[in-house]
Symmetry: C2
Subunit: 202 residues, 2 copies
Amino acid sequence: MSIAPDTKERILATARDLFHGRSYADVGIKEICTLAKVQKGSFYHFFPSKRDLAMAVIDSMADDWAHGFVAEAFDEALPPLERLDYMVDAVYFWQKAAKNLEGRMPGCLFGNLALEISTRDEVIRARLNAVFNKASARFHQALEEAVENGEIPPLDTEATATAMLAYLEGVILLAKTRNDPDVVRSLGPAIKSIRIEHRQTN
Amino acid sequence: MSIAPDTKERILATARDLFHGRSYADVGIKEICTLAKVQKGSFYHFFPSKRDLAMAVIDSMADDWAHGFVAEAFDEALPPLERLDYMVDAVYFWQKAAKNLEGRMPGCLFGNLALEISTRDEVIRARLNAVFNKASARFHQALEEAVENGEIPPLDTEATATAMLAYLEGVILLAKTRNDPDVVRSLGPAIKSIRIEHRQTN
DNA sequence: GTATGACTAGACCGACCGGTCATCTCGTTC
DNA sequence: GAACGAGATGACCGGTCGGTCTAGTCATAC
């Protein structure tokens, strides 16, 4: 996107786009190199293997997320429940923009990779799991605040946060299968209806 | 599983297990043939291509679903809301059994394939979408009945049904990423909390 | 008893895969 | 200005991929 970035960055960005838009297995190193205008030897100078590239892509995307629209959506200046709507909106606009560009809804890179390779690679699975845990923590914090503020009745904030993340991933999955970002907009807001009560500790 | 089924059935069953347990791209025809004790020539006698095999696998699995535990879960003799719990339980036990057998949670074959290949193959995408629509219809019917019975206040049953399916898929996705079927049991029941109100038509 | 056609068998194919490696370029260091 | 090393280059490798093809088996039909 920017002008002549470092070779490594170019590889990373290209791989990210290709993995996201298609899948890990379907994208070859040769193709990545061609699009990134990098030679095969250079590629292997920076990344020991395709698998390592995948992990770098995950880290890079997770980083962008954390400091990009996720940070915006979960801005502590926003009322907690509005953050959920913001997040849903952000996903919607992102997916819609991607579809307009490439004709297809790419879905969530992490979800895609999780279903594709987490059965085959324990390390990558753990990595993706960590990303989800971080995302879940954002929801958790928002819920905690919402309960404190009295915006919602007390509930099991941790479990509900995870459930909300699951719902969001599920909505993206369904939207991708329909190739229709509007699914995110129509189903997304219901994320606020999800509730898991405290396990009775009495 | 059964004793010496037809060659075509053996191929289908083997491919289903392998695709489900790993992924479409990661499983080669040679491997399917070996495990199914079938020669390559025989394979291509029954299936024109790997892609056609994938579609046959989807159809076969969808059929098994529809007549198997989904039919059980959504048995009209059950109270509507109990059907949701039944479905969640069924998913949990299935995933847990699979994990005990193979060490890894395979997740939902349809969800897996949807994220892996729906960006690349429009026909398969549509096929998977149809499967999801059928599943959604089950939820829809249950919700309709629940509203009629007065078990729950009126709501947009169609949108809510889709949202519930999305939630279930999302929960399975997260559980697979954690490789922990218990996630299904702990988050699953919250499916009943999801509500999408009627769009105001007044 | 021979022709037919569904099915089996497995050698074979070109393309492509992830990955290696010897060679070269070129800025930096002394 | 020689030595060095990060990085670039692209030919090359063994293996595997999905898929083809010819030959052969065998039950049935006539």
